[in-house]
């Protein structure tokens, strides 16, 4: 993603399009304007925007149809739809196709701005584990996928690490040297009640009780070591997606599930 994010605004109402784009530019974004679904699809090919904000009700090709074509061309591009009066079928279809949400018009522009700023932000993850080799290898993997990763081996320093800096999620080892992982989880939950914490453990049989406790305290999910990279990545992707959706008013729920080997986390994208 380049330094300045490029937002494609797809809207057949010229005044609406102009005002949205003016605000986005004032807030430091580049904007592209499309007045039809067809124009939007063309611009996806030619201009490579970072995010799409698109009306549903447009003549000829509506926003949901345009969304389908955009996702075929660029499956990863974040798309937010807006509508004055969307049908339930359209909303369901839009979410199935991978839109973050369908915003009711008049849209809350502040909401869109916080969504965009979160999109722009580095995807930062904190790994709390006392095994340096494990931390190192995992850090390498995540970094190769574009995440910004910090590691911490001292459970007493975890809360300090979280201050000020935004973290997408925390990956926490259940068995830490001198302090029980559950206590660390509790202290994180107290200070950051909505922060997703992934519990990781290598002892499959013995500590399933602790895992259950962990989920009760509010861990997002539990994973077993050795971690399947794809499982971990899809879980983190899911968290990011949910956090972004939550910024747009969608409810954020913790699945509180145990992800074991061979049973990868459910990825909500098709």
């Amino acid at each position: 993603m380049s330094a300045v994010m490029k937002i494609l605004v797809v809207e057949d109402d010229h005044q609406m399009s102009k005002t949205i784009c003016d605000i986005l530019r004032v807030k430091g974004y580049d904007t592209l304007q499309a007045y039809t679904g067809e124009e939007a699809v063309t611009l996806i090919r030619s201009a490579d925007p970072d995010c799409v904000l698109m009306d549903i009700k447009m003549p000829v090709m509506n926003g949901v149809e345009a969304l389908r074509m955009i996702k075929e061309l660029s499956p990863e591009i974040p798309v937010v739809l807006m509508s004055a009066f969307a049908t339930e079928a359209q909303i369901t279809e839009a979410q199935k196709l991978g839109a973050y949400t369908v915003l009711d018009k008049p849209i809350d522009i502040q909401m869109v701005l916080s969504f965009l700023s979160c999109l722009k932000r580095e995807k930062s993850i904190l790994i709390v584990d006392d095994d340096p080799v494990f931390s190192k290898t995992l850090k390498d993997i995540l970094q190769s996928r574009g995440y910004c990763v910090e590691t911490e081996a001292d459970p007493n320093k975890v809360l300090g690490r979280m201050e000020g800096d935004y973290k997408l999620a925390v990956l926490l080892d259940l068995k830490l040297n001198n302090r029980d992982g559950l206590n660390v989880l509790k202290s994180i939950r107290e200070k950051y009640p909505t922060k997703p914490v992934l519990l990781a453990t290598s002892h499959q049989e013995h500590i399933s009780d602790s895992l259950k406790q962990g989920l009760q305290i509010g861990a997002y999910a539990c994973l077993y070591k050795t971690l399947e990279t794809e499982t971990l990545l899809s879980t983190i992707k899911e968290i990011r997606r949910k956090k972004l959706s939550a910024l747009l008013g969608e409810p954020f729920e913790m699945p509180r599930r145990i992800v074991s080997e061979g049973a990868p986390a459910r990825d909500e994208k098709p």
Binding site: M16, T19, I23, K57, E88, P106, I107, I109
Partner: protein
């Protein structure tokens, strides 16, 4: 002379004979008539004689009849009418008096048509009445009349039902049209409102901070746009029903978020009693968010002079108690959330109309907010009730069934 006398005697005998035969014929006809025959003096209404049929009808012996008068064989309460008919018949104004109540010796009553004719007997003006028992006919007539009445009643009821059904159809059709209209008007208005909103936001972003008056006016525009947007949302929500997407949700979170999204003036203090121990409820978070936002806004608007808004939640065990088709009492745990204000309250009269569409006491509002709120609560299997005292405030109570109840 002798011949003449003989002839005269013979003639008289002849006449006597003829009279005898005539009397005989009369007696035969009189006694064997199918009707009960009764001869009465017009002046004193005393009976002279009657035939065996009338004596059977009345239960008196034939010899008893001369001791009776008209007053003895009719119920006292009908006597005036009967006597009036009697007089009319005596004057030949009426031939048949229909359905006259007649009293037997044992006091029981039957109905008779009485066909009368005045006759002169021995110089006395009399009335001979032929009584025909019409009790059975009268019963049949009565039955027919009743049937008719019932039929008419049924026709009336059916007609009313049909009219009601037609009214219902017209209302439904009107609502459907209102729905479509709301949809298109809502859509058409939401875009311009959105543009105004964006324009205000833009101006506030680029305007120098120190221009207080302009900022104040932009805030006014913004809040008016918000009000308009809310009215349109109510209209749109009213015109369509959304199926709830329910999953276990923390009601405290929803309430907190709703409180956060409502602008609560400084004159209103907020007190939230939402224990951490509340179990999750299976609801659509967006719909329930709307519910609480609406209730909170209403509460705030009811406290123009300030007051206290209290939101409390607790689990209760008797969701099913008020449920008519529930047989197991106290086995339906529920979550109760109460939103109370210390505002102006609602009059008993308005309380009745509170959930009717288009009822409103607000200066700006179309009276759909609480209708939509109630529908949202019910769509999530909950119940919404209200208590209010004028001058003291109102409490809106939401009951939501807990998981165990659904199992």
């Amino acid at each position: 002379m002798a011949g003449g006398l003989r002839r005269e005697i013979a003639g008289r005998k002849q006449a006597e004979q003829e009279l005898k035969e005539s009397e005989q014929r009369f007696k035969t006809v009189f006694d064997n008539n199918n009707d009960g025959l009764l001869v009465s003096d017009i002046e004193d209404k005393k009976f002279l004689f009657g035939n065996p049929v009338i004596s059977r009808m009345l239960g008196y012996g034939e010899d008893e009849l001369p001791n009776l008068t008209v007053a003895d064989i009719h119920p006292a309460e009908d006597l005036a009418y009967v006597l009036a008919q009697f007089e009319k018949q005596a004057k030949k104004e009426v031939a048949v008096a229909e359905s006259i109540p007649v009293k037997r010796k044992d006091g029981s009553v039957f109905f008779a048509d009485i066909n009368s004719a005045p006759i002169t007997l021995g110089g006395r003006k009399c009335l001979m009445g032929a009584f025909r028992d019409v009790t059975v006919r009268k019963q049949v007539e009565e039955a027919v009349r009743k049937l008719n009445e019932e039929l008419e009643q049924k026709v009336r009821e059916r007609t009313e039902q049909l009219l009601a059904a037609q009214g219902e159809l017209v209302r439904a059709e009107k609502l459907a049209i209102l729905g479509q209209l709301a949809g298109s008007v809502g859509h058409e208005l939401r875009n311009p409102l959105g543009v105004i909103n964006n324009a205000v936001y833009f101006l506030k972003s680029v305007l120098p901070q120190d221009n207080e008056t302009v900022k104040e006016y932009l805030d006014i525009i913004k809040s008016e746009v918000d009000i308009s947007g809310r009215i349109i949302s109510d209209l749109l929500d009213f015109s369509r029903t959304k199926t709830p997407h329910a999953y276990p949700t923390s009601i405290s979170e929803i309430v907190k978020r709703s409180l956060h999204s409502c602008a609560i003036p400084e004159t209103v203090t907020v007190e939230a009693d939402l224990p951490d121990t509340l179990p999750p409820v299976n609801v659509d978070a967006v719909q329930m968010g709307q519910v609480f936002q609406n209730l909170i806004l209403n509460a705030v608007q009811a406290m123009q002079k300030g007051g206290s808004l209290r939101i409390s939640a607790k689990t209760i065990s008797d969701f099913g108690l008020q449920n008519a088709d529930s047989t197991k009492k106290g086995e339906h745990p529920a979550l109760e959330v109460a939103v109370s204000d210390t505002g102006e309250g609602i009059s008993p009269e308005n309380l009745k109309k509170l959930f009717h569409p288009l009822f409103t006491t607000k200066v700006r509002g179309i009276g759909l907010g609480l209708v939509v709120t109630k529908r949202n609560v019910e769509a999530n299997n909950g119940r919404l009730s209200v208590e209010s005292r004028e001058g003291e405030g109102s409490t809106f109570r939401i009951l939501l069934p807990l998981e165990e109840a659904a199992a």
